[in-house]
């Protein structure tokens, strides 16, 4: 008993802890995912914006060069110089514009005057004649490596720092690649992993505790934006969310513990009370008469357990039977029922040997032969034939078939009749049932309910009846409530029935009267 209690206690403890843990993990995972997704979305939008700005700047510079080429009819005159100055000043990222003949800068405008960049190797030469030099030492002025583009006679010098808007990035490490070539990084000395090694989207590098994101634009020029931030930055950004989550968890976990404790206490106390009721014989037995529907004679009854708690509350069998099974009390319950039947109806059964009372068995009863030993000795003590007690077994109890099959055979050899209860609600097949030695089959109430009138009938019940007939089983219809059901059942050759049409469940005294009236 103590061992069982301990088992239950540890079981509840495990459920509580695991539940709380699962809750925390689930909540943590959800918050993490949400935060990562939000961060990814934020960076994607930012990258998209930066990429578009960069692309726009480059396309704009290219178009600018084309316009200047077309309009420089008299190069390096005042109008040409003024025009170059105007377009340069209008764009913050343009540092200088130059007019060239071959490799000689003839004139120009902008902030860096008199510097002619002639880098030894072009980064890209396009089919349409644009030529570009990505930032390198050859284009460095004042420690800043500049981006250079030439088309025809004009060139433009772009400061790539102004393409990567640092304010938007809030101090993150970021890099801009155009045509897979590095354009600018911030801070300028930042070291990035090779672009090809980075996956699209956001990845978390656990070993370096960094979040690395790479987003690519490919509308006109392939542009890649890479941002790297330490995890601590990420946590800092999502601290409010995390605090909210922690508070939520702190609220939910006690709630969960409370729910588990409340449920288990109720359940445990009910089980304890049931055990007490069984040992103190406080369960009552009711009898649902079984009649021959052709002449109304009472042939027996199904015994039903009834439990009224000390506070007067009636607990239905649908609640306390599962509790009894769970607490390992099913056999004790069946034994108490048997004792009740023999105490209340022992004399009647002795007087009428044809009468029999059905006792419901559960799967647990087949796990040991405890109940069957009791059954044998108590019937002997009462001086009754074994046929006085019929055994009802549910389909579910038959599932563990090998031991059950053996025990059913033994019980039948001893003279008990065995009926299968609630037939049709489980998963029995004809061949399966055939492997058991049985005497009777009880058709479940749900099939009987389906008998609307004599004309319209459920096809299932017809099959069930045919099956029972082919197995040479007696048939008992459960839950008969109307005359037309009786008519139909009789027409199908089903003689035995029980239900409210004949009688409600009765107390022992009422049953004795009922039997006297209909025998």
């Amino acid at each position: 008993m103590l061992a069982r209690r301990d088992k239950i206690f540890f079981g509840i403890l495990a459920v509580t802890v695991l539940g709380a843990l699962a809750l925390s993990v689930l909540l943590g995972w959800y918050i993490w995912r949400e935060s990562v997704m939000t961060e990814e979305q934020r960076l994607q939008q930012l990258s998209q914006r930066l990429g578009e700005e960069t692309e726009h700047a480059i396309i704009d510079a290219r178009n600018l060069l084309e316009t200047l080429n077309e309009q420089a009819t008299d190069p390096c005159n005042a109008a040409h110089l003024a025009m170059m100055q105007d377009v340069a000043v209008a764009r913050p990222y343009i540092r200088a514009i130059g007019y060239w003949r071959a490799a000689e800068r003839l004139c120009g405008a902008g902030f860096i005057q008199g510097v002619s960049f002639t880098p030894p190797k072009a980064s890209r030469i396009y089919d349409s004649g644009e030529i570009a030099w990505w930032p390198s030492e050859a284009t460095e002025v004042g420690g800043v490596q500049l981006f250079l583009m030439r088309f025809g006679h004009h060139d433009v010098v772009i400061d790539p720092r102004l393409l990567l808007n640092v304010d938007l990035l809030e101090g993150q490490m970021a890099g801009l690649w155009v045509e897979k070539l590095p354009m600018i990084t911030t801070p300028s000395n930042a070291i990035f992993p090779p672009l090809e090694s980075l996956k699209q989207g956001m990845t978390v590098n656990q070993s370096t505790e960094q979040m690395i994101s790479r987003f690519s634009l490919g509308t006109l020029l392939p542009i890649d934006i890479v941002a790297i931030q330490p995890m601590s930055e990420f946590w800092k950004r999502y601290l409010p969310t995390l605090i909210t989550a922690a508070i939520l968890a702190l609220l939910l976990i006690p709630l969960w513990v409370f729910a588990v404790v409340r449920y288990s206490r109720q359940h445990l106390s009910l089980a304890a009370e049931l055990r007490d009721a069984i040992t103190r014989n406080k369960l009552r037995v009711n009898y649902q008469p079984i009649v021959d529907m052709s002449d109304g004679r009472c042939l027996g009854a199904e015994s039903l357990a009834r439990w009224t708690r000390d506070n007067g509350e009636v607990v239905g069998p649908d609640i306390f039977i599962p509790i009894a099974e769970e607490a390992g009390l099913a056999t004790d319950l069946a034994r108490a029922m048997l004792q009740g039947i023999l105490r209340e109806l022992g004399d009647l059964l002795k007087q009428c040997p044809d009468l029999s009372i059905n006792l419901n068995l559960s799967a647990q009863d087949f796990q040991t032969d405890r109940l069957f030993v009791h059954l044998e000795t108590e019937l002997k003590t009462a001086g009754l034939a074994t046929s006085a007690i019929k055994l009802e077994i549910t389909e579910r109890a038959l599932v563990d078939s090998d031991t059950a099959r053996q025990q059913i055979r033994t019980l039948r050899q001893q003279g008990h009749l065995v009926a299968i209860d609630d037939f049709g609600t489980g998963y029995s097949s004809l061949s399966y049932l055939e492997s058991f030695e049985l005497d009777a089959l009880k058709i479940d109430k749900s099939f009987v309910d389906a008998i609307e009138n004599q004309a319209v009938t459920s096809s299932v019940i017809v099959h069930v009846i045919e099956m029972a007939k082919s197995l040479k089983l007696d048939i008992i219809a459960e839950g008969v409530e109307c005359d037309h059901q009786v008519d139909w059942l009789l027409s199908q050759g089903v003689r035995l029935g029980q239900g409210y049409l004949f009688s409600r469940p009765l107390t022992a005294h009422q049953f004795i009267d009922f039997h006297q009236k209909y025998s």
């Binding site: 071959a102 490799a103 880098p119 030469i125 396009y126 030529i131 030439r150």
Partner: protein, 227 residues
């Protein structure tokens, strides 16, 4: 006029066409002379001939960088100069059948014979003239280079005839460029006949590719001073 075989006049080793022309006219025996006298201005050829030398491109380059006739490029500017020139050619060339490439500071242009010359003709047609005008414009701006014009043919017909045809076609293009302001000092004419195919002569497409004039643009680089 007597027709004599070409080889003596245009051997495999590159020779300046004008030099050959003068020799040929003096000896009165070069087949080359005919188309030129018929289709070019003799006065022009005379003026070009004064500038011509007998050298290969390499010798010519070495000589030019010291001569003062062409302002040589400082070595550190060569990359930029050729890159920009190449981009400029890309921009100006509207004909996409001209294969343009830049390698080791050398620009190579392969002008297919088809669409440039009519069959067996040695005169540049209208379509090719506009492309050559564009090329001449860029060459005039980027004047610190020499331009080798090399003629090639497929292997159909007589070897000698092909040799002559390649020479005449190279000459025609060289002539056209000089008319568009490229000083003859910068021009080297070569003819290879059928000797240097770039594609399979057994198929029509390959033969078409082999009938071509190649233009190679090389920078004139200042000799590195010892300082």
């Amino acid at each position: 006029m007597k027709k004599i075989p070409v080889p003596a006049a245009c051997p495999k080793t590159p020779l300046n066409w004008l030099f050959i022309a003068i020799i040929a006219s003096a000896s009165g025996g070069c087949s080359l002379w005919d188309p030129l006298t018929e289709q070019s201005e003799p006065a022009r050829i005379t003026s070009l001939s004064a500038e011509s030398t007998k050298s290969s491109p390499a010798k010519r380059l070495a000589k030019l960088s010291d001569s003062g006739k062409i302002n040589p490029l400082p070595p550190e500017q060569v990359g930029y100069y050729m890159d920009v020139q190449y981009a400029n050619l890309q921009q100006k060339l509207s004909r996409d059948d001209i294969d343009l490439s830049l390698q080791n500071s050398k620009i190579t242009m392969i002008i297919p014979g088809t669409n440039t010359f009519d069959v067996n003709s040695t005169s540049v047609n209208k379509d090719a003239q506009s492309a050559l005008t564009a090329i001449a414009g860029v060459l005039a701006e980027y004047d610190r280079t020499i331009v080798t014009v090399a003629g090639h043919t497929d292997n159909q017909g007589e070897t000698d005839y092909n040799q002559g045809l390649s020479e005449q076609r190279a000459l025609a293009i060289g002539e056209y460029l000089s008319q568009r302001g490229i000083t003859p000092t910068r021009l080297v004419i070569q003819c290879f006949g059928q000797n240097r195919p770039i594609a399979d002569n057994n198929i029509a497409k390959g033969r078409a590719e082999n009938r071509r004039v190649e233009l190679v643009i090389e920078p004139v680089v200042a000799r590195q001073s010892s300082s």
